[in-house]
């Protein structure tokens, strides 16, 4: 069988495209990140639909949706949950924190303290919470959409490189086109489209798909191509911190998911190229001289994409 296409996946994508107009590529990337088992970081200005996207995703997969609005005074226990004393019987009852959800929107993650950030990121990595020595697993699938405002710097705690590296993709929604914005306004004239969003897939389906995607074939030449792109970042003298092996692995998984969503059971070099910027750019950190020279990590990747030969 040459293609693997599930109508439900198409429905899921249509659901999201119906809510987030004119951003089909970003929607697909979010789905890729979800199916690859990673988490997404949306770096965008307020009001572009980040929360709406997360809600739409949660409703489409019949999952639990939680939102955390990060503030500087937020504590780790506010995220993971804590035990509360019950005076009636003198016991402690664990109250789950908002992380116990299928889709978690971590809004403005850069506004909370590094301690709280690391608590969330630890949860993202291990998909479990340990409180008072007791381990509690998070529901599956567990997908985090974190957001941060790229234009505000006062009172923020930028995510360090090692924590940025844990996000599979760093995406930007951006402002919609005029026609799309018109459509957005009209679609919300009478009711909220989120209320009538049909169920597309279940959480169990998502888990099945995540396992299915690992069977998508990646030719050795394509793998080498991906690794050579990564190697190019490591050899670039302008790069202070290049892509890590975690980045290579995420690129590999996302490429499989991307191919799967395109209806193929094999990965093409085009898939690697399409995912290189979203999955690798936020992992590259430049020397100060390069930054002040106006070089961006995306420029480094674009140069690599132009120069590294593509397998044929």
């Amino acid at each position: 069988m040459d293609t693997l296409t599930l109508p439900s996946l198409q429905q899921l994508e249509d659901n999201l495209n119906g809510i987030i107009r004119g951003k089909a590529d970003v929607v697909r990337l979010v789905l890729v990140t979800l199916l690859a088992g990673g988490h997404a970081l949306l770096e965008d200005v307020p009001g572009t639909g980040k929360t709406t996207l997360a809600k739409a995703l949660a409703r489409s997969i019949d999952g639990v949706f939680r939102r955390i609005q990060f503030t500087p005074d937020l504590l780790p226990a506010d995220i993971t949950g804590s035990s509360v004393y019950r005076p009636l019987d003198g016991s402690f009852e664990f109250h789950e924190g908002p992380v116990f959800a299928n889709v978690l929107l971590a809004d403005e993650i850069n506004r909370t303290s590094p301690r709280t950030q690391s608590a969330l990121l630890e949860v993202m990595n291990e998909k479990q919470v340990t409180v008072e020595g007791q381990r509690r697993m998070l529901p599956e699938p567990f997908f985090v959409i974190a957001t941060q405002n790229p234009s505000e710097f006062q009172g923020t705690y930028p995510l360090p490189e090692s924590q940025l590296d844990r996000f599979a993709g760093c995406l930007t929604l951006g402002y919609p086109e005029l026609a799309d914005e018109m459509e957005i306004i009209h679609s919300r004239n009478e009711r909220d489209p989120l209320d009538t969003l049909p169920l597309a897939v279940t959480c169990a389906d998502i888990l099945t798909l995540q396992a299915e995607i690992r069977r998508v074939r990646v030719d050795r030449a394509v793998t080498e191509y991906a690794l050579r792109l990564v190697a190019a970042t490591r050899a670039d003298p302008r790069v202070r911190l290049p892509v890590s092996p975690r980045g290579s692995l995420i690129l590999y998984r996302c490429a499989q998911a991307f191919a799967y969503l395109a209806g193929r059971n094999f990965v093409l070099p085009e898939d690697i190229r399409a995912l290189a910027l979203p999955t690798l750019a936020h992992r590259i950190h430049l020397h100060a001289k390069a930054r002040y020279g106006g070089i961006l990590p995306a420029h480094v990747l674009e140069e690599a994409l132009e120069t590294v030969p593509v397998p044929r």
Binding site: D2, E161, R217, D219, A221, V222, E224, Y225, R228, R234, A235, P237, R240, L241, P242, N265, F266, V267, L268, P269, E270, R273, H287, L305, E306, T307, V308, P309, V310, P311, R312
Partner: protein, 647 residues
């Protein structure tokens, strides 16, 4: 994390000798070992050349290299002036040539351990080592090793870049032309030296006043000089088949003695040609068949009682002086002997009056006491046979054999007879010759081989150490007689070692097999023989081309260019070529699909269809023949579609 990351790729790798240079240097050192029979210092040098491939440390500073140079040069000096047991034909003094070779080898080692070796020296120094090894023009090893040396060194030219690099394509062409030219020159020189080696040897003997010793223990111009021990090895030189008997195989005879020298030399003799004649016997009925097992000169060693000889080609000889018999320049490797019978006399004629007079001459430098001694020994003998018997008996009784000889001052034979009384077979034979001449018996001095060792079956084997000297006397009415005047302890059979080891037997078997193959090949026509090397050369060229092609293909297949499946690779190359013809060559960093999407030109729909089908076949789970057929069909359509170049 601050500061740049330094990876291991950024540190310069330790320099190493290019592999061809290393191979050439090792071959030259091996030549030095094999020709000079020295192993320790060349072996150490060879090891020192290989070690840089295993360790990355180098000698960075000039003073340290100078110190190493001093140490190695000192070793070379000590090793070069060690006494050598074997003395072979040499163009210059063997010690100086050894020193030159060791110094060159030492400098190669210094260069190998330097950070930046001098490229030109790396080419010249191995040549110096080989020159030192080739100081002797008589060693067969140089004939075999020199072509190998050239083959090893030639590919190293690609590392020699005295000028800025030219364009890659031109550099490849220049390298190929240089390789062919060097190979051709090397082969031409080798063939010329092999073909004209006799003339070169003769010219060398004329030019240089060196007492030339014959091959492997036979002296073509004997000199009674200092000896420092037994000479000769167990290397086989001749094999005799057909008769198991003791034979004195004569090489050359000399009838003129002067101050320790026996003459005339080969150049001083008039040579006659015996045309190739139909032998009086068939090859299968020869009584004695002699095969050369080592590349001796053209002497044909025959017993005195030779009635006829057959080599399959013309023979040169000098009958007046009792020989020698010489094969043709094409190196006779085996020949048949028919021994004398009552109806078949010996080929050696009676001496002419001049030669008879020469064979009776007692040189003026002989001490008068010798003449007196001779009269004392055999003055009252009634017949030549009796005189011979008395002289031989006297020598065997009163003199003893010794391999270490100091001739002293004056005439060596006189000193031996009157004072020293111990010497080797050359002195005994010379003394017997002089004594018999004093008694009026015409005699001549003969050098050759003493065949005594029986081998398997009906064979006999003659080794280098069986070189011997004896006397031949002319007895009126009886002809030529062989006279052995050396004590039994000094004869080759007395010095015989124990039975050869298994390794020596194996080596002998290999030699015999090669001899048999050579003998069969000699009967083939030249054009048939030429097919074999030509075919081998062609095969090597094809193999080399195929290996290069595979290497390039493997390099391409390793990553970016072509798939492992040849049909897909062919399709990819054809499509790339089609794109180029269509004026839309695809950059190597862009996939075809993306490239086609970027193009503004209106390319045929088959192009996109091809790319889609190709991607499926190339990167998909399995290639089916149908997919490949479809690709081929699409390609054919594209290639047949007229192209309109994009704007």
């Amino acid at each position: 994390m601050t500061g740049p990351l330094i990876t291991e790729q950024e540190q310069p790798a330790a320099s190493r000798l290019p592999l061809p240079i290393l191979a050439a240097a090792l071959v030259a050192l091996a030549a030095l070992c094999l020709v000079r029979h020295v192993w320790v210092l060349p072996g150490l040098f060879g090891l020192a050349l290989v070690l840089p491939y295993l360790v990355s440390a180098r000698i960075a500073t000039a003073p340290a290299r100078g110190l190493l140079r001093l140490l190695l040069f000192s070793l070379a000096l000590l090793a070069a002036f060690q006494p050598h047991a074997l003395a072979q034909d040499e163009l210059v003094n063997v010690r100086w040539s050894n020193l030159f070779g060791y110094l060159c080898a030492a400098e190669i080692v210094v260069q190998a351990w330097s950070r930046r070796p001098h490229t030109l020296l790396l080419f010249l120094l191995p040549c110096g080592v080989l020159l030192a090894a080739g100081n002797t023009y008589d060693s067969p090893w140089i004939q075999r090793i020199a072509p190998l040396f050239i083959l090893c060194l030639t590919p190293g030219f690609r590392w020699y870049r005295p000028r800025p690099a030219v364009r890659p394509q031109r550099a490849v062409l220049l390298t190929g032309v240089l390789l062919l030219a060097t190979l051709g020159l090397g082969f031409a020189v080798n063939i010329a030296v092999l073909r004209y080696q006799v003339a070169l040897n003769a010219w060398g003997a004329q030019v240089m006043p060196v007492a030339s010793r014959g091959n492997l223990g036979i002296s073509l111009a004997p000199v009674l000089g200092r000896r420092s021990g037994p000479q000769g090895s167990s290397e086989r030189v001749l094999r005799l088949d057909g008769s198991r008997s003791i034979y004195y195989l004569r090489g050359m005879a000399f009838d003129t003695y002067h101050q320790g020298h026996w003459t005339p030399t080969l150049l001083e003799r008039s040579i006659q040609i015996i045309p190739r004649h139909t032998p009086k016997f068939g090859f299968g009925s020869v009584q004695l068949h002699i095969a050369k097992l080592a590349p001796l000169n053209d002497l044909l060693f025959t017993p005195l009682a030779t009635g006829d000889i057959s080599t399959g080609s013309a023979i040169n000889w000098s009958p007046d002086y009792g020989g020698p018999l010489l094969g043709s320049a094409s190196k006779v490797m085996s020949y048949g002997i028919l021994l004398t019978t009552p109806g078949l006399p010996s080929i050696w004629p009676a001496p002419t009056p001049d030669r008879r007079a020469q064979m009776l001459e007692v040189p003026a430098e002989i001490d008068p006491g010798i003449i007196q001694l001779a009269r004392q020994i055999g003055g009252n003998a009634s017949s030549p046979q009796m005189k011979v018997q008395k002289v031989v008996q006297y020598l065997l009784t009163n003199y003893h054999y010794s391999a270490s000889i100091d001739p002293g001052s004056g005439d060596p034979v006189s000193n031996f007879l009157l004072m020293r009384k111990s010497a080797d077979c050359e002195y005994f034979a010379s003394a017997a010759t002089i004594l018999l001449r004093c008694l009026g018996v015409p005699t001549r001095y003969v050098v050759g081989y003493y065949a005594h060792e029986f081998d398997l079956g009906s064979s006999m084997v003659v080794r280098q150490r069986d070189a011997h000297a004896w006397v031949e006397a002319w007895v009126d009415g009886d002809g030529w007689k062989t006279i052995e005047a050396t004590p039994a302890g000094g004869r080759p059979d007395a010095r015989r070692d124990t039975l050869p080891s298994r390794r020596q037997y194996l080596k002998a078997w290999l030699q015999d097999t090669r001899q048999a193959i050579n003998s069969r090949l000699r009967h083939l026509r030249p054009w048939l023989l030429a097919i074999i090397p030509a075919g081998l050369l062609l095969y090597l060229l094809l193999l080399g081309w195929r290996l290069l092609r595979q290497r390039r293909r493997r390099r391409d297949m390793a990553f970016h260019a072509l798939p492992a499946d040849r049909r897909l690779a062919s399709a990819a190359m054809r499509f790339a070529a089609w794109l180029a013809r269509a004026g839309a060559p695809c950059p190597p960093g862009i996939p075809w699909q993306e490239h086609l999407a970027r193009l503004e030109a209106d390319l045929p729909a088959e192009a996109r269809a091809f790319v889609q089908a190709y991607n499926g076949a190339r990167f998909g789970p399995a290639q089916r023949d149908d997919d490949l057929m479809a690709l081929s069909t699409l390609l054919a359509k594209l290639e047949n579609t007229p192209l309109s170049r994009p704007q």
